[in-house]
């Protein structure tokens, strides 16, 4: 019985280390590919390659919106909820991103900017709005506000 136990345990360890060597060589190979692929690129360029569309979207917004701004984020893409806006928040900082409210942060239909709660906007110094809605709504833009009213609009399509 003791011999069987020994053999079983040794077999387990041998299988473990065979798989370990395989997986570590695989990861080493992947790391080498990563090195080759991103060699010479800046951090921002690497992020652009890895993160893709979301990062390019954030850069577009950053090029339009000044750093000291507060931004209202309006979108209804429920399949991506709690992700796109959170990642965008990371790349837009120090610009501050806000939801319309924290109970239902994703209004199904894009609200009219003129109808937004003026007190809510002024309390948070919100002077920009990002609207990101599916193509059928035709609303994918950045809007600059003044006293709660839209004064300039930039398309992001």
């Amino acid at each position: 019985m003791k011999v069987i136990k020994y053999i079983l345990m040794i077999m387990c360890l041998v299988i473990f280390f065979i798989l370990a060597v395989y997986s570590i060589l695989l990861e080493a190979k992947i790391s080498y590919k990563i090195f080759r692929k991103y060699y010479g690129l800046s951090n921002n360029q690497k992020t652009g390659c890895i993160v893709g569309e979301l990062y390019r979207y954030a850069i577009k917004c950053n090029n339009i919106i000044p750093e000291d701004s507060s931004i209202l984020f309006l979108s209804n893409f429920s399949s991506n909820q709690y992700s796109f806006d959170l990642f965008l928040n990371y790349y837009l900082y120090p610009r501050k991103l806000f939801w319309l409210n924290n109970i239902d942060p994703y209004p199904e239909v894009p609200p009219k900017i003129e109808d937004l709660d003026h007190t809510f906007l002024s309390k948070r110094n919100i002077d920009w709005v990002i609207l990101r809605y599916p193509r059928e709504y035709g609303v994918n833009k950045v809007v600059k506000l003044s006293n709660g009213k839209p004064i300039q609009s930039f398309r992001l399509d």
């Binding site: 136990k5 020994y6 079983l8 345990m9 040794i10 387990c12 360890l13 299988i15 473990f16 280390f17 798989l19 370990a20 060597v21 997986s23 570590i24 990861e27 080493a28 992947i30 790391s31 990563i34 090195f35 991103y38 951090n43 690497k46 992020t47 890895i50 993160v51 984020f73 909820q81 709690y82 992700s83 806006d85 959170l86 990642f87 965008l88 928040n89 990371y90 900082y93 120090p94 501050k96 991103l97 806000f98 939801w99 319309l100 409210n101 924290n102 109970i103 809510f120 948070r124």
Partner: protein
């Protein structure tokens, strides 16, 4: 160049602070070997700096590199004093190191070195690109660096886009210190502390096994831990990313192994070390509180079943483990109570433990069990570590249920049950994400699983490796 020097100073001061605190609290107890000294110094150093900077900001101080430098001056004279005092002993120990080893020794060492090289390379070469490293910890670190205070308005307005604003601040604080040293936001270099957490974990794992086993035995199981795919693959929570899972794993591992030795050898230093590290666990992730409660329950349960005679005595001492974290974390508990939580922040509320709520989620049970089984058999996440674990338990069934090793198994069972219940009662529609994130959720338990296997191997004398 200047920023890299500052970064080097920051890393040094983390180790120095940890080493000084170890000396003050434990004298030479955790300095018997370099791996132990390094890992404990890093664990206590990061935890202490996190708590210290948080308390400093809580009292109105500003979080920046200048203030960190001023605070660090308190540790310098003590470090120099203790280093001179202990110089002879540590130098002699280094000189006694034996370099002639067998082929297996070099094989295990090579695996560890390759694993650490991959992890460190990816951490420093690739910018943050996973989920929580940016959406949860990274954004908070940016805010702390930019605003220089924990009282930034961003944390208190529930309409500000923020994921788990009320989660503990240790990881973002450490990251913000690195931003402070670098003088800018750097998505790659900010990850310097994370491979170090993993190195500390491996060194501690090795050193803690050396308390009962040979060097070969300890090295083999450390190598097994180092090469697990969940640590070297580019997935959520790995040590190359900026997740809080590896720091939590380090603190938790130090905590449960110290408790294990406290039950075995009854040395108060082990209990104190466990208490310090569970405090840092609570300050690292919200799960830390659950782990703390579970560990407490597991201790009581183990003592009740296996050490009834000594139970009263140990429970009195064990009170330290329950009370001290509450005292040390008073500023954090007070601060976090001032948050206005959004509805989605209430992930795990005791109010979910109602019959109706649980009953409406029962359909999840087979899915959770299936996910766990699939994951444990998938060698791309855990190699065959779960299979080895179950085989070991089955082959040394009698030994497993002896005191104190039963504590490890009880703790693991409690942890798995807690994870199961957490997924079962999770109230939001995206609960199924957990099924695919199971390897990360189980990461904190992996050193426990490996430690149980290692101890069982030692007790059952399955193999004896000595170099």
């Amino acid at each position: 160049m200047n920023s890299l020097l500052k970064c080097f100073y920051l890393i040094s001061i983390i180790f120095i602070a940890g080493d000084v605190i170890t000396t003050i609290l434990f004298k030479d107890k955790f300095k018997s070997s370099l791996p132990l000294r390094f890992s404990i110094a890093y664990g206590l150093g990061t935890g202490t700096w996190g708590l210290l900077i948080f308390s400093f900001s809580y009292l109105g101080g500003s979080i920046n590199f200048r203030n960190l430098f001023i605070l660090s001056l308190a540790f310098m004279p003590l470090f120099i004093f203790y280093s001179i005092k202990n110089f002879k002993t540590s130098t002699l120990k280094l000189l006694r190191y034996n370099f002639s080893k067998g082929i297996l020794y070099y094989f295990f060492l090579l695996l560890i070195i390759i694993s650490l090289s991959i992890i460190t390379f990816r951490a420093l070469y690739l910018p943050m690109h996973l989920t929580d490293d940016r959406t949860q910890w990274g954004i908070k670190a940016k805010i702390l660096y930019h605003e220089g205070t924990i009282y930034a308005h961003d944390f208190f307005d529930p309409t500000r886009v923020m994921y788990h604003a009320s989660y503990p601040f240790l990881v973002p604080l450490i990251e913000s210190l690195f931003y402070g040293a670098l003088g800018k936001i750097d998505d790659c270099l900010v990850k310097i502390p994370f491979p170090l957490f993993f190195i500390a974990l491996l060194l501690f794992f090795y050193a803690s096994q050396r308390r009962f086993s040979t060097n070969g035995h300890a090295l083999m199981f450390t190598a097994m831990l180092a090469v697990l795919p969940i640590f070297i693959r580019d997935t959520n929570g790995n040590p190359s990313s900026g997740f809080a899972d590896v720091p939590l794993t380090l603190y938790y591992t130090i905590s449960f192994t110290s408790l294990f030795f406290w039950m075995r050898e009854r040395k108060i230093e082990d209990l104190l070390m466990a208490t310090m590290c569970i405090t840092f666990s609570i300050f690292t992730k919200k799960e830390g509180i659950i782990l703390w409660v579970i560990v407490t329950l597991a201790i009581l349960f183990t003592l009740f079943l296996f050490d009834w005679k000594e139970m009263r005595n140990k429970v009195l001492f064990g009170g330290i483990f329950v009370v001290l974290p509450l005292i040390l974390l008073i500023p954090w508990f007070h601060f976090s109570s001032t948050f206005t939580l959004g509805p989605w922040e209430r992930d795990f509320d005791p109010s979910y433990l109602t019959y109706n709520h649980i009953h409406s989620h029962l359909y999840r049970i087979p899915l959770i069990v299936k996910s766990f089984l699939r994951m444990s058999l998938d060698f791309k996440s855990f190699n065959i570590i779960w299979i080895i674990f179950f085989v070991t338990i089955a082959l040394s069934f009698k030994d497993t249920f002896y005191f104190p090793q039963a504590f490890l198994l009880i703790l693991l069972i409690f942890n798995l049950c807690a994870l199961f219940v957490a997924i079962l009662i999770y109230p939001w529609p995206w609960w199924s994400n957990f099924l695919y994130d199971m390897p990360r959720l189980l990461m904190v338990n992996i050193p426990l699983v490996m430690y149980t296997i290692s101890y069982q191997f030692h007790k059952s004398k399955f193999l004896k490796l000595s170099f």
